[in-house]
Amino acid sequence: MSHSAPGLNYLNHAKGFKSWALTLDHKRIGIMYMVAVSLAFLAGGILAILVRLELLGPGETIMGPDAYNQSFTLHAVLMIFAFIIPAIPAVMGNFVLPIQLGAKDVAFPRLNLASLYIYLIGAVIVMLALVNGRIDGGWTFYAPYSTSIGNGILFVTAGVFVMGFSSILTGLNFIVTVHKMRAPGLTWNRLPLFIWSIYATSIVQVLATPVIGITVLLLFLEKAFSIGIFDPALGGDPVLFQHFFWFYSHPAVYIMILPAFGVISDLMGTFSRHQVSGYKFVALSSVAIAFLGFLVWGHHMFVSGQSAVSSIVFSLITYLIGIPTGVKVINWVQTMYKGSVQLKSPMLYAIMFLFTFSIGGFTGIMLGVLAIDVHLHDTYFVVAHFHYVMMGGNVIAALGGLHYWWPKMFGKMYNEFLAKIAALLVFIGFNVTFFPQFILGTQGMPRRYYDYLPQYESLHELSTYGSWILAAGLFLIMFYLIASLINGKKAGLNPWGALTLEWTHTTTPPDHHNFHDTPVVTRGAYDFHLARHLFENGGEVSELDLGGDGAAPSHEATPVPQEPVA
């Protein structure tokens, strides 16, 4: 196997600012995305800590109502548009997806780089709102409140519009890449579930994001020219705005959670060294969920004044989507059954995900019940629910994925002991922060409240303490990951014994062109029983599996047919 000069990889084959800023390499773009979304996460996280600090007691604790209202709004906008939506697809999707497909790059590398810059421009425009009037009222921008405040809303809508473009271009790129650039032998049935879920996510991104585009555009025009589509004072209909908004924003929930499903599937398979139970179901249900996700937006609007007919239809379809999601959870648990489970830190996050996401899922069912939602809508129950899904789902999975692919990305191992401590801190901190909020919600504490009744104080206090534990865990992760870059142990080719192409067919870190020769795939992503030879010597797999199944692992290149399967 002739790689380009030994020791050269995508990180060091070219140096200098320009080699990064103008790179077309999907791996470098993924890394740059990682830096960008991490900054967004840091900013959003600091705001979250401030918000929790303010809620430590009733009345003013550290800031006044206007500062508080803007803090939670900016927290939401940053976390949703600038962090969660791009987190897994744009970072791990970019880095891993082409390699898992056996491709040398995504289908449109220039577009890929463009979407990174578009994302950055969008984020900057959003931040401009801070110095150009205020933005409050949450990330939902409900009219007519949003058009009644200062000009900050113009910047936020413009920024969201621009970031939406980035999201669309990424999704479009991935769909084409999955369709057109799979390696020979990599049939749909052999695709890693991570690919399936990113594929499903991309469908949602392409179909839903344009609608938030037109929605924020109309909101922009409503603010700038009073066009009277949403503003009731001019004869518009504010409920129509909510339809427009949720037509995107509910599917956006699936943009956030579907990639997490993919990461968890990969982790479950690899660390159980076992076929993911119900592979076909898990794969196809991702796509089914992506489509069904478009038919349930009205469950955010049961008390908004929409017709009862639509509430009923939306409620019913909400359950239809709950079932496949539930079965997926069971499939992941079942993957461990008669498997060979290894509790490395990435797997800890997968295990944690099963816990937190299940709570998020069950409380989602609770909120889908028409009569109960009347009580729980816009209370802390909803806040807790979506944090269990978004953070307990997406962020936990993203952390799992980060720990899983970190060695491949940088060729360095982090400190496994610290990683386990951090995982524990995150788990405890997360649950202490958000579980009390369920009870606050059922007790009737409305969300987006700066001040509250004294009866809610003890639970708020608990929640705030939890946020400190959570923050400690996250800072610990930041610390040892950065430390690993400086003095981490060198990572092997395939430390987890995974079977997807990024582990079996690339060096660590990968070569600039991923593969020198196009790999040929002869087994499914989780067919560990067909790859026994890789594990014969025990320990971590340290050799590339270039021969396909049956062949002995060898450094000798096996001739690879060139003709691709499109």
Binding site: R273, G305, S315, P446
Partner: protein, 308 residues
């Protein structure tokens, strides 16, 4: 976690709230049991199938179609039960009995106005009779609000330019919090009020007392609580002109003309604020005040006359 749920749910204040709670507990316990099963299985598998040897490669498991069917069919049945049940209670929650006692509610940034057909108007306390269904016809003067009484498990958004409604029948005398649950600006979390449920007799007495002819200026002072965010009474300038010493003076208008601030002008300015815009002030006064009753309007004007 008893049936009245001191930890999870506040005491229900209406019979319908009790029905909601029953449904809540059904979903709660079913979910908890299923969740416990999933977590138990997870922990068991984690321990039982722990990797013993690094070269261990387990055989794939034959997937049981029957088991898969169970996972799909059982939850489907459960959610269909929950859906039907939830739908049933939802319709009850949203359909007020035809004989309900109706109260008009106007929400605004950041206060409430409850007006009774007998003529009484309240701002911080919504008096209702115990044991009689009460229907609130609600609308908003500015942005979206939402009317929420946790103890009654009722909530509905309040929309400008449209009436929405909630109804409830308080079972016991007492006070119940009202919150606004749709974000409406700086003082969103301060937009609270109370339902005060009293016996029929007390309610009758209250409403008679409140609907009594207060001296107009006193009534006007009460009503003026809504105006104070923009109009001062001490001569300082706000979003709108001050009311102090306004009566019967000559006012300059935006269009260059002038007008005497007499009764007719004040009335017109309240009912149709865009007709004559005072010079130097933005035309932002909401039209919502046209909903005030004749008596309230007379009261307001009487009160403004008293402001020197």
């Amino acid at each position: 976690m008893g049936d009245n749920g001191s930890v999870w749910l506040p005491d229900p204040g209406t019979a319908l709230a009790g029905e909601v709670d029953t449904l809540f507990w059904f979903v709660f316990w079913t979910s908890t049991i299923m969740f416990a099963m999933v977590i138990a299985a997870k922990l068991y598998f984690m321990a039982k199938y722990k990797r013993n040897s690094e070269s261990d490669v387990p055989e794939p498991v034959e997937e049981s179609k029957a088991l898969e069917a169970v996972w799909i069919v059982v939850p489907t049945i459960l959610v269909l039960i929950v859906f039907t049940w939830g739908f049933d209670v939802f319709v009850k929650l949203n359909n007020a009995p035809p004989d309900a006692y109706e109260i008009n509610v106007r929400a605004m940034q950041w206060s409430w106005e409850f007006s009774y057909e007998e003529g009484a108007t309240a701002y911080t306390e919504l008096y209702v009779p115990v044991g009689r269904p009460v229907k609130l016809n609600m609308t908003s003067s500015d942005v979206l609000h939402s009317f929420y009484v946790p103890a009654f498990r009722v909530k509905h958004d309040i929309i400008p330019n449209r009436y929405t409604a909630v109804w409830f029948q308080a079972e016991e005398a007492g006070e119940y919090m009202i919150h606004c649950t749709e974000y409406c600006g700086t003082q969103h979390s301060g937009m609270n009020a109370k339902v005060v449920a009293v016996s029929e007799e007390d309610f009758a007495a209250w409403i008679t007392e409140q609907s009594q002819d207060l001296p107009p200026a006193i009534l006007g002072e009460q009503v003026f609580a809504q105006c104070q965010a923009c109009h001062s009474i001490d001569g300082s300038s706000g979003i709108g002109p001050t009311m102090a010493g306004l009566y019967n003076t000559e006012r300059a208008l935006e269009d260059g003309s002038t007008v005497i601030a007499d009764d007719d002008y004040l009335l017109e300015s309240i009912l149709n604020p865009m007709a004559k815009i005072a010079q130097g002030y933005p035309p932002v006064m909401p039209a919502g005040f046209s909903a005030l009753s004749q008596k309230q309007l007379d009261g307001l004007i009487a009160y403004i006359k008293t402001l020197e």
